[in-house]
């Protein structure tokens, strides 16, 4: 119970009275909003994906496009969440501004995204974090055992088992208490960022010629060539890879879809809005903007440094040839971190880089666990589903049972990610389901100031521009960003969405795993069924669920 102390000043007079505090600090919320696009991991996945898949891509432009989309979406989420600072994110925002059936559907869409992401990031933990880290250190320490372990852990079924172990451990930590989880979050994030900064500093202080020399020395035992750097460029050229650095704007716009997949979730702290201190103030939205600045600022800096020291042409080439085992014979994929590790082969330095890089993995997995838990909580609090589902443990004050259920439910998603032939399919499906939510929240932001005038006027979101509520502009922006993202992913098969490029009808009338629109429709229909079943069930108990979503007119 915090309070206004008895005090007098020229601006206000306050008296002794009780008040309250919440569990999550604004700084924790900022970190939380960075995590959906953990700079270290997004760099590893997106950059190397787009450089080869989209020739002539201007990565800087992709990031700017994504940052604009993210800014618009965060505005709609942030301004609405400041009015309704309750945990449950899109469910709370849409149910109070549009319709609860759509809100449950949206919750399922984001839940599906989170579960799919839990699956592929869980598998990625071994595949692109622990495995390469062990191999990196093994190479530096000249230890074939570590290199062998690195290869083993990145392969099936170890990648899936490591992913499940990670999810189970995270669920256990979250079951112990949110404050403890926030401390774990802070330290993992700090370590990840320190490693990121050290890598950036290493690149900044290394010249291109120095990198080429170091890389050739590093690669020589595996390629048995004196100049592996230029060898990979030549081989990529021969294979027909476009290594031109001239911007192809069409490809750049399409490639921005790859960054949008990770970069438009800076509103994720709305899942915890009810637990964030001062969530009813502008700090709520500002925490998203700070998350956005950290995410995109650090990625932009790192890309600039990679281009400066390693070179765009080589990055494209080495990524392109890394899929050909007759050409690329190094034990590690050419992620940015393994390339930086080639600069200084000191074992301690490489181990430090590797360990700090691994820190990102549990962070990105943990936020995927938070979303379904908080969504189910919000449903249960509104009595759409039985309250027992969100039962709180008396001792830890956390939903132990629900966390356990989520951990077990992650198994099929881990299996699917580990044993798929098309890894990007899951990233694609996880991405496409987010866009309808951005559109729905955008519509909600447009309508809210007019539908629930009293709540809007009493809030800090009551800000107008040219006589129109600022929320309306951001609502329109969120709709445009959502439609733009959906269009990219539904239209361009290069991004990996099953059925992309076919007619909308073909993408709709298929199985949910084979078409993004089919998955969206399935989630929305499931949402409507759950809501109306819940409503009928509660009506039989004398509870009218529709009352939950009304605003009482003050006049």
């Amino acid at each position: 119970m915090a309070t206004d102390h008895a005090a007098a000043s020229q601006t206000h007079f306050a008296r002794r009275a009780t008040g309250f505090v919440r569990d999550v600090k604004v700084s924790d919320a900022v970190i939380f909003n960075v995590l959906p696009a953990c700079p270290g991991l997004v760099m590893a996945v997106s950059i190397f994906w787009v450089l080869t898949a989209f020739s002539g891509v201007n990565v800087y432009a992709c990031i700017v496009i994504t940052a604009i989309c993210s800014f618009l979406i965060s505005g709609a989420f942030g301004l609405l969440s400041q009015i309704m600072p309750r945990s449950g994110a899109d469910y709370i925002l849409i149910s109070r501004s549009l319709h609860p059936a759509l809100a449950v559907g949206s919750s399922i869409l984001i839940g599906a995204s989170s579960m799919l992401a839990m699956g592929y990031w869980g598998v990625f933990t071994a595949k692109i974090c622990i495995g390469p880290m062990l191999t990196m250190v093994g190479v530096a320490a000249d230890s074939s055992t570590l290199q062998s372990w690195g290869g083993t852990i990145a392969s099936k079924p170890w990648d899936m088992l490591v992913g499940f172990g990670e999810i189970a451990l995270l669920a256990l930590i979250m079951a112990y208490g949110m404050r403890f989880m926030m401390r774990v979050q802070f330290w993992l994030f700090t370590l990840g960022m320190v490693g990121f900064a050290v890598a950036a500093l290493t690149l900044l202080t290394t010249s291109r010629s120095s990198f080429i020399s170091h890389y050739n020395t590093y690669a020589q035992p595996f390629t048995h060539r004196p100049d592996s750097y230029h060898y990979f460029i030549d081989q990529a050229n021969k294979a027909g890879t476009n290594l031109s650095t001239t911007t192809d704007w069409h490809n750049t716009i399409v490639a921005s879809g790859a960054f949008i997949a990770f970069g438009v979730w800076v509103w994720f702290s709305t899942n915890l809005a009810g637990e964030i201190r001062q969530a009813g103030t502008r700090k709520n939205w500002y925490s998203m903007l700070a998350g956005l600045a950290i995410t995109f600022g650090s990625i932009l800096i790192m890309i600039a440094l990679l281009y400066h020291t390693i070179g765009q042409q080589f990055l494209t080439a080495v990524t392109a040839v890394s899929g050909d085992p007759t050409v690329y014979t190094l034990p590690n994929s050419p992620w940015w971190i393994t390339l930086v590790a080639a600069i200084h082969t000191n074992t301690l330095f490489v181990a430090f880089l590797g360990i700090t890089f691994v820190c990102w993995a549990p962070l990105i997995v943990y936020i995927q666990i938070v979303q379904p838990v908080r969504a189910l909580f919000a449903w249960a609090f509104d009595q759409v589903i039985p309250e027992q589902i969100a039962q709180i443990n008396e001792r830890t004050h956390t939903p132990v049972l629900l966390l356990g259920v989520i951990a077990v439910a992650s198994l099929p998603f881990l299996y699917a990610a580990a044993y798929t032939t098309s890894f990007f399919k899951y990233i694609a499906l996880s991405t496409i389901v987010g866009f309808p939510t951005f559109v729905l929240v955008g519509i909600g932001a447009i309508l809210f100031p007019y539908k629930k005038k009293a709540a809007y006027e009493a809030s800090v979101s009551n800000v107008s521009f040219l006589g129109v509520p600022l929320m309306v502009f951001f609502g329109i922006g969120s709709i445009v960003a959502g439609l733009f993202g959906a269009w990219l992913w539904l239209e361009y098969p290069q991004l990996g969405l099953p059925g992309a490029g076919k007619s909308l009808a073909d993408q709709l009338f298929t199985t949910p795993g084979s078409g993004g629109l089919a998955l969206i429709a399935a989630c929305l229909i499931a949402g409507a069924i759950i809501f109306y079943l819940g409503k009928a069930w509660r009506k039989s108990q004398g509870i009218d669920l529709s009352l939950n979503y009304l605003e009482i007119p003050p006049e």
């Binding site: 119970m1 915090a2 309070t3 206004d4 102390h5 008895a6 007098a8 000043s9 020229q10 601006t11 206000h12 007079f13 306050a14 008296r15 002794r16 009275a17 009780t18 008040g19 309250f20 505090v21 919440r22 569990d23 009015i83 309704m84 600072p85 309750r86 404050r179 403890f180 926030m182 401390r183 009813g280 609090f381 509104d382 009595q383 309250e387 709180i392 008396e394 004050h397 009293a454 709540a455 809007y456 006027e457 009493a458 809030s459 800090v460 009928a536 069930w537 009506k539 039989s540 108990q541 004398g542 509870i543 009352l547 939950n548 009304l550 605003e551 009482i552 007119p553 003050p554 006049e555």
Partner: protein
């Protein structure tokens, strides 16, 4: 389908819907919403469970050029005419604060008052505003047949009770047992001791004694509603940050240490008397419903600064109860 078979007794003619809210802390828009709740929720009984008055007075100072100015939300707000001044005052009231038209000289005078005198001045501002609220309630409730019970909480001054009693359609219920539609409601707005030394606090044994004395007036606990401002100890309705003697949060690893801060006396009384339902406020950040024995204990929490009133609909029929949290 048995699942959807309507339980007639839950919504039958003799079912009574009660709307409970608490801790609005001087937010006028919430008081207005509270009074309009019966229209939206079809409730026949309204209960305001305490901590009704605000914590901050905002001086709106007349400048030499005739305009009015105030510091609000970290910025200077200016009103050039009466319409803008009304708008400014509405914004102040809408955020749980009291506007006070004044001069620079008076602001300086009040700032220089001893604490006790300043508290008295503060109380006079609060009571004047609350008197207006009571008049508004009488206007809105007249002829509706709705019973509206209001009691002060631990943060409210003792004199608030006199204001409540001036209402025609607003009924005072603090430290009393009232009856409606075959049910009784036992009310007590005092809390156990808090670090704030707020106006209406009691030791646990005193709190228990008062509840005990009131309970003797209750004919049937299975049809009784407890309306006790402070929630029962360690009930999930009472989790808040621990404070030290300097009102600073106790941190463990840089995080606030959350502890149960409810009343052991209230818990003991609920365990012993087992009323049908007990309604609580006081701890804003701990909204929850939980059973202690057969008693359903409810705290709807409070987000008064958001302009939305957190409340609970409680449907009573005989010795059965159904609850629903609503934020309007």
């Amino acid at each position: 389908m048995g699942l959807f078979k309507r339980k007639k007794e839950a919504e039958g003619d003799d079912a009574l819907r009660l709307y409970y809210a608490s801790d609005i802390h001087g937010t006028e828009v919430l008081w207005k919403k509270f009074l309009n709740a019966p229209k939206v929720y079809d409730a026949r009984v309204l209960v305001m469970g305490g901590d009704i008055t605000g914590k901050v007075v905002i001086p709106i100072v007349q400048e030499d050029d005739g305009t009015w100015s105030a510091r609000l939300f970290g910025g200077r707000q200016q009103a050039r005419d009466e319409a803008e001044l009304d708008g400014l005052e509405r914004r102040v009231r809408g955020n749980g604060m009291y506007p006070y038209r004044t001069t620079h000289a008076e602001v300086d005078r009040i700032a220089g008052l001893p604490e006790e005198e300043r508290e008295q001045w503060f109380e006079s501002v609060m009571l004047r505003t609350f008197g207006e609220w009571i008049k508004l309630a009488d206007e809105r409730l007249a002829g509706t047949g709705i019973r509206c019970f209001v009691m002060p909480g631990n943060d409210d001054p003792q004199a608030l009770e006199d204001c409540i009693r001036q209402g025609v359609y607003v009924e005072s219920c603090d430290e009393a047992v009232v009856e409606f539609d075959g049910h009784t409601m036992l009310s007590l707005g005092y809390s156990n001791r808090t670090p704030w030394d707020s106006p209406r606090e009691l030791d646990e044994d005193q709190l228990y004694q008062r509840i005990h004395d009131l309970s003797e007036q209750v004919p049937d606990m299975s049809r009784c509603v407890f309306n006790l401002h402070v929630p029962p100890y360690d009930s999930r309705l009472d989790t808040a940050a621990e404070l030290d003697e300097n009102f600073t949060m106790v941190l463990i690893g840089k995080e606030p240490h959350m502890i149960p801060v409810g009343s052991t006396a209230v818990r003991q009384a609920i365990e012993e008397y087992q009323p049908l339902v007990s309604l609580h406020g006081h701890i804003h950040e701990s909204p929850a419903a939980n059973r202690i024995g057969r008693t359903l204990c409810i705290n709807p929490g409070s987000d008064y600064h958001t302009g939305r009133i957190a409340g609970c609909l409680v449907t009573l029929r005989g010795d059965r109860v159904v609850h629903q949290f609503v934020t309007g």
